[in-house]
Amino acid sequence: MADAGLLNVVLFLPLVAIVLLVAVPPREEGMVRGMSFWVMLAQFALTAWLYARFDGGVGGLQFETRLPWIPGWGVYYQIGLDGYNVLLVLLTAFLGPLVVAGAFTAVTKDVKLFYAMVFLIQFAMMGAFVAQDLFLFYLFWETMMIPMFLIIGIWGGERRLYATYKFVLYTAFGSILMLAAVIYLVYSLQTTTGVTSFAFADLYQAKLPLSAQTLLLIAFGLSFAIKVPIVPLHTWLPDAHVEAPTTGSVILAGVLLKMGTYGFMKLGFPLFPDATQMLIPLIMVLAVVSIVYGACLALVQNDIKKIIAYSSISHLGYVMLGLASLDLLGIQGAVIQMVSHGLTAAGLFLIVGMIYERCHTRELAAYGGLAKLLPVYSLFFMILTLASIGLPTTSGFTGEFLVLLGAFTASWPQYQHGNTLPLVLSVTAVSGVVLGALYMLRLAQHFLFGTAKAPHLPVADLDLREKLILATIVVAVFALGLYPDEPMRKTELAAKQFQQLVTTARLPGSTP
């Protein structure tokens, strides 16, 4: 019970921080930064405590709070941790202090507003993960849009307005369709079962005809696919990443994109199992296209941030592939891959942000031989590069390996039954690993080796704050790579539940 209260504290701590920030005089920028950091650290400490107490052997919700909110509609304030969200909540809280500390020197304009927006988006992301009621989830989902709009629009690069409107207009379009689908879904549940509820657990019981399931899955799916993003809905991402300040990119790549894959895992697929089964070939094709196309685009970019942005599209393609494989290992791999990408992409954006702060350019051609100029920087850069490629012992390896394993396991029996498509797709997906090595090593080669050059010489190497930030991420990357067993035990039951929900037919008239 006390722990359930703790989860509420974790959720609302950022809001408290915003109130405190308002009270701080605007000139006291140091105080704003310090306070923001400590609040985020406190949030992480509490979340880590909850994570440690989370029991992977028990199915269903833990640390649950359920209070009536809009009784007339069956809307509850219901939050809790389960195997689906526990790792993502931990990831969100883990990145919080790093995001704040990473912006200490980079953000000098409207510092108070900046941290207020970082807290607001932290609150919304945390809320979207822990919400167990569709209405609540939608509120948090939509709330994420506004702080991001401001973060990119106020503190972004030269084409920030274009990028931020593109981000918002893409996101809002998905949300509008999802809103229609939410209303329709709840209304259908009400007419078929007589239960008026937005609770996920109740919605999993809804039995809808295939046509309705398909339309609803498309409406939900578009919204999630834009967030992931899945090719061809990805075009907002490079612009948003390139124009966003480092903080914005880290939040986007670290957590926000996982909102999409989490949405598919928690809502999209399990709510509409029959439509999902029917559309799985399409989803797999799109996932593999994202993997390969994202990697190919990353290969030809000259803007460092764009390379990482396109690599995100490729990496999240694996998550989709793992979920769509419906194989237990694949699903677990997808979850690990989400966290792993959150760590490596956040780390890469942070480290790129650090050089950008010193040299003010993201052009790959402007740099060379940084290994000689900035040895510590280059060491961290190389580790993160290798983690992104998925070298064994790093987290990237665990995720991608499990996903590919799952995809093969699932496609082999189908191949024996004469369906070659899944196998072809799985084999194609492997090429993403090779391409991933290619574009990341190309980046590292141009960046770290060759003739030493950089704009604004001499360049100072990392200071203590920056070293600590990167070291924290590197430790986490290795921890997840070497001991994936521990987090996987916490998510195993959820993966099983997901598998069972999606593979059980739920058409009207079918018995569970």
Partner: protein
């Protein structure tokens, strides 16, 4: 006798205020005290209405024409309470003069129509509510657009009145009764005369609520009026028109061709209002187009039937009203022409963070973005439309509302991302406007946090 006294207590108080204000005007060379007197009167009327609501009072002072229910009292209390921030805003525009008695008369009409049972009282209410506004628009003396705007508004308002009367006469001819229920029963009939009557009445309401293609007067009238009067027209008058329509439709479901009548033009309004608002440089014109779109959502609510329709319309009007007035109250001070220009908002966050955040909240709420009350309001409407089985219209309406996000965000962009205008006025809203914005902010927060508690009362 007590029924006439208590049942119409809010109206009596308003009437007393009007008489006092007029006497003051005649008696004194330089009349003063218009604002405090009006505040006291409107406040007292609101308290009286709340009290009668809390006591569960219901009575029939004039059988067949005028009856009072507890819910009606609550609606009156809400409208009168909304009038208070409008009055607070008025001092900058109208230090003294005929503004106050006119506004009180208009509110009197509003209260009348909320309790009307017959076409006669409904018509009286609507006209008493609208007529003073024609003058209020004209009252923006310094503005050259004033007379033109007022004339346009007057002529088109008159046309709407004529259409309404024509429709009512046809209904009376068919049913020989003036009771409002005649409208609801005509909704279900296939009689040509009844259908013609309904179409005329609905179109009259469309004209008054500025639904496309009857919307062209709204941007001009809003632009010609002073900011306070624009705020009043965009919120309270619009609410009056919609609530009058609600009295007519009651809880009767619509069917057949009526659905198309009530869905297509409002849909076009949503789309066109949101598109046209993108191109505006004047705050008032932008709000005008935005209100055209919002009228579209509101008429959408009529597709749903039963108590849900009432809840949806009332909640929407309240949410829309408070957030709209919140925006008007937070516009930085200055002369009228400067205040109206959207460019004036550039970099407002640097000059006055409070005002910028308030306008931002109002814009997001109007755009229907959670967690602000505008979202729940929109949710309620589309929920009813889908529950009534018109999923396609609901999806189209939602896509139309998506178009609106851009121009609301553009205001936020100007305030937060723009560079401050050199030489721009530093000060945000002054004392009374600040009070008005706080008065609107409180219900905005309450509506966002406890929406269920609010619409559980209707």
């Amino acid at each position: 006798m007590s029924e006439v006294f208590f049942g119409m207590l809010p109206e009596h108080l308003l009437l007393l205020g009007i008489v006092l204000l007029l006497t003051l005007e005649i008696a004194s060379e330089k009349p003063r005290g218009g604002l405090p007197l009006s505040l006291v009167v409107v406040g007292a009327a609101a308290v009286a209405a709340t009290w009668l609501y809390a006591a569960g009072y219901s009575a029939v002072p004039f059988p067949g024409h005028y009856s009072v229910t507890a819910t009606g009292m609550l609606a009156k209390a809400v409208v009168l309470a909304l009038g208070i921030p409008v009055l607070l805003l008025a001092r900058d525009d109208f230090p003294e003069g005929p503004f106050y008695p006119l506004l009180l008369s208009s509110l009197y009409g509003f209260c009348l129509l909320l309790s009307s049972d017959s076409f006669l009282t409904l018509f009286l209410g609507l006209e008493i509510m609208s007529l003073p506004v024609y003058v209020l628009v004209l009252l923006a003396f310094g503005r050259p657009e004033g007379p033109e705007a007022a004339l346009k508004y007057l002529v088109l308002g008159g046309t709407a009145t004529a259409m309404f009367l024509m429709g009512v006469s046809l209904l009376y001819g068919g049913s020989a009764t003036l009771a409002l229920s005649a409208f609801a029963s005509a909704l279900g009939s296939h009689d040509v005369m009844a259908t013609a009557a309904i179409v005329l009445v609905v179109l009259a309401f469309f004209l008054k609520a500025a639904i496309v293609p009857f919307h062209a007067w709204a941007p001009d009238a809003y632009e010609g009026a002073s900011l306070t009067v624009t705020a009043y027209m965009a919120t309270i008058i619009k609410a009056g028109v919609l609530l009058a329509a609600l009295r007519l439709f009651g809880t009767t479901p619509v069917s057949g061709r009526m659905v198309e009548l009530l869905a297509i033009l409002p849909l076009v309004s949503i789309v066109w209002g949101n598109l046209a608002a993108m191109r505006q440089h004047s705050f008032r014109r932008m709000i005008a187009y935005s209100s055209i779109a919002h009228a579209g959502y509101l008429f959408y609510a009529f597709l749903g039937a039963g108590p849900g329709r009432f809840q949806a319309v009332v909640f929407y009007l309240v949410a829309y009203g408070v957030t709209n007035i919140l925006a008007f109250a937070s516009i930085p001070r200055g002369d009228d022409a400067t205040r109206d220009r959207l460019e004036n908002l550039e970099g407002l966050f640097q000059r006055d963070p409070y005002a910028a955040v308030m306008i931002g909240v109002a814009m997001l709420s109007l755009a229907g973005i959670p967690p602000f009350p505008g979202f729940v309001a929109k949710f309620l409407i589309f929920k009813n439309v889908i529950a009534a089985g018109y999923t396609a219209y609901a999806v189209l309406g939602l896509v139309g509302s998506y178009l609106g996000i851009y121009f609301y965000l553009r205001v936020i962009q100007k305030m937060f991302m723009g560079a401050a205008v050199p030489g721009a006025v530093r000060a945000g809203p002054g004392g009374l406007a600040l009070a008005a914005s706080v008065l609107c902010l409180i219900p905005t927060i309450l509506l966002a946090l406890f929406p269920g508690w609010v619409f559980g009362r209707f």
